[in-house]
Amino acid sequence: MRRYSVFAIAREGFRQHSGWDRAWPSPLPKSRYDVVVVGAGGHGLATAYYLGRNFGIRNVAVIEKGWLGGGNTGRNTTIIRSNYLQDPSAAIYEKSRSLYETLSQDLNYNVMFSPRGVMMLAQTQHEVRGYKRTAEANALQGVETEYISAQRVKELCPIIHIDGPRYPVLGALWQARGGTARHDAVAWGYARACADMGMDIIEQCEVKGVTQANGVVTGVQTSKGDIACGKLAIVVAGHSSVLAEMAGFRLPIESMPLQALVSEPIKPCMDVVVMANTVHGYMSQSDKGEMVIGGGTDGYNAYNQRGSFHHVEETVRALVETFPIISRLKMLRQWGGIVDMTGDRSPILSKTPLGNCFVNCGWGTGGFKAIPGSGWAMAELVARGEPGPLAADFGLNRFREGRFIDESVAAGVAH
């Protein structure tokens, strides 16, 4: 595949851009692959990419029910951070964040990673103590974060109202190396790099069943015919329970809608990401100038990719209180994604009761930031058949053994 570069742009500039290739082809499925990855979102594509790059496994298909990156990869608020409390979480999210730093170079595709800094506001005494503790934990984990004062918050983000009537800003957990990236570009970049290694990315191909023999997976039945596989990786986020049922086991997952919305574009006014977890809203400004806003999940199971209106109302109310400047902004679009929530709000990267079938799910409300690290760890799990150091603590067995990685308590909210 032809590399993207400034010379390529110059060359194409002289011939009306007639020489660009398709970034990835649309092949029909072959009858057999060494590995079939179900789900061409960020996590699935990253899994395939690192299978090829780190383990030389290139006879791989990534199959997708809809279109590439059309699920949660294209529906999130693109925040990247790694300031987690628990050691296993900090390890995998920090791996992910560090991979994001060089992802554009690795993939030869501009993912527009913007390490603009992420702050999580402390608006109660409880949060102040919690974030100070997280900052100390991060120091031990080698994750660069610091607890900053309210004054520093105001300096970094002048549009914040720090003396709010209900929840004044008392400080914040600041990760200067966190930020955002272009979510579509992450999926497209991985897809292009996978196709470049000879992998097949098959869109509009829905899995209808999982075939097995003697407790080992043998292939998948799809809307484009049967595909045999040596190993199967299920990386389908909100629909993990549906796929697991086809494979004959049940997951500790509940699927719920999580909404986001964007405003009309305005002049640059905010060059950091702000998360306000007590009032439950987070906001950043996209390169186009839109304010990108996220809130909390609906509390009940649903697969409808819409969500309830009152959650939008709560989120916007909280943000107007925190950022009075946005009170007259019009909102342009609202959408929902189906997030896969686990009991301890930590992901699952695991072997399953079905042999040679692996699952990567449960990223809940915070999957985008984890894409490279998740793919890295999942590729190791699929290639070796056993989890590596990054995935070891995220097995399904932790629910039976009571070995939770309890980020729900650590964060207190969706994260």
Partner: protein, 117 residues
């Protein structure tokens, strides 16, 4: 907005008045059960894409728990019933299967609560 009729007080409550309580009809396991049973009871969920039997509490109303049958894709509510029933009544099952057939929506896999164990 989701609206459920509380079977105890009869109020048509919208979801801001209610608290969701997750999957209904889980068989409870306690001391003396195996690790697998206990894990299943605490964590493993059917999480169906389709008809779902679930628990709700009329928190800002009569305060009582009740159960509902709802489609997780179309958000259609088939009905609500009191929480003391150990499993959905035949009438409720009929409502789920009958309305699904006529709804014109491709049915997901209706998950029978017994399969949860």
């Amino acid at each position: 907005m989701l609206t459920l009729t509380c079977p105890h007080c009869g109020v048509q409550a919208d979801e801001t008045e209610l608290s969701p309580g997750g999957e209904a009809h889980l068989k409870r396991f306690g001391p003396g059960s195996s690790d697998e049973e206990f894990e299943g009871y605490l964590f493993r969920r059917a999480n169906p894409k389709g008809a779902h039997y679930e628990r709700w509490r009329h928190t800002y109303g009569c305060g009582k728990w009740f159960l509902a049958a709802r489609d997780t894709v179309t958000m259609q509510v088939f009905g609500t019933y009191p929480a003391w029933l150990a499993e959905p009544s035949d009438e409720m099952r009929g409502l789920v299967s009958g309305q699904r057939a006529g709804s014109g929506v491709e049915p997901g896999t209706p998950t029978e609560p017994e399969a949860a164990q």
